[in-house]
Symmetry: C2
Subunit: 199 residues, 2 copies
């Protein structure tokens, strides 16, 4: 076959073929909630559970983004929105690769979660609102961030000096002060199974 | 298990486990060369071949980047470098997901390819230089871009009014005016097999 015959060849490996190879549907499971609510814990538990079932996952979090793709961004409103946009664009590429992308970001603004939904696409975007009350999150304070926020050392800290806007219509709400990790995990896996992400 | 016991849990699904699940090693195969050299054709052929072998791939190209993650960037030197940096950061995430990421970009500057290598990591980055001579590329001119560049309609067009800096030490050189697609594909697959990307 000569090269110029192939100039207009389509991209032939489509998303569906990748998903068929993997036996799963590419999707984004987006954990949102206060610092200390249990997002990362749940995201890790979900990833572990999926991997034991032979599913391919990738966990995207603030550390990965802020030390990589978003290392040029600060924490102004515009930069936060741009950070979310980039997270969403990367997530979309992972979804098209067939990967189940698990995201754990405070993502306090409706505007930014709507941006993510728009970029990723309605059908591939599942929001889990980790609704653990502020008092419980602050009581846990695993990184001492709430204390610093109360002392004014950290400005604009979500829940203390900056708002958290609850999701209007999340796919699932999990309060980790009411349910233990196994119960939360069960609800999360039932949700993604019902959505057809896994069989 | 209570939530606060898990605050310091490690990310437990490592790259190696994903690669083991997939039966392949995550890597970037980066095609560089002039417009019309055959990069996309070879990239598509390689992806098709890998998929038939049950391997998971993702093809990253200019269309995907410029309509997505890099839609805010122009074509100044700084913006082109930033585009390459973002391509590299996304590629790295794909590699860590276990995906074989096939990239097809003119990427004319040594500086930008070195940036990509630095971000992705030496061991995961394989450069295929598609060295088809300018005269052949211009003769093919599948999108009429060379004609427009000669007419001055497109400024700074690689090979015409902007330099292409040949890779110093590519993993493979393929001249599509000397070899047909099957021969080029054979060399490419031998290279990635020798590198341990596939078994």
């Amino acid at each position: 076959m000569a090269f110029n015959e192939l100039a207009n060849i389509d991209k032939s490996i489509t998303r569906r073929r990748r998903e068929s190879l993997l036996g799963q549907r590419g999707a984004v499971v987006w954990f949102t909630g206060l610092s200390g609510a249990g997002k990362s814990t749940l995201a890790n538990a979900l990833e572990e559970w999926l991997n034991e079932k032979g599913k391919l996952t990738y966990l995207l979090d603030g550390d990965i983004m802020r030390t990589g793709l978003s290392q040029d961004l600060g924490f102004s409103h515009d930069d936060r929105m741009e950070n979310i946009r980039r997270i969403a664009e990367v997530s979309k590429i992972l979804v098209h690769s067939g990967v189940i992308c698990i995201s754990a970001f405070i993502s306090p603004y409706r505007e930014s979660r709507e941006l993510a939904r728009r970029v990723i696409g309605e059908d591939d975007f599942y929001v889990i609102y980790v609704s653990t009350p502020l008092a419980v999150c602050e009581g846990r304070d695993p990184k001492g961030l709430y204390m610093k926020a109360r002392q004014g050392v950290i400005p604009e800290f979500t829940g203390v000096s900056s708002p958290y806007e609850e999701p209007v219509d999340p796919n699932l709400i999990l309060d980790t002060s009411q349910h233990d990790i196994d119960a939360c995990l069960k609800l999360a896996t039932e949700m993604i199974r019902a959505a057809g992400v896994i069989g």
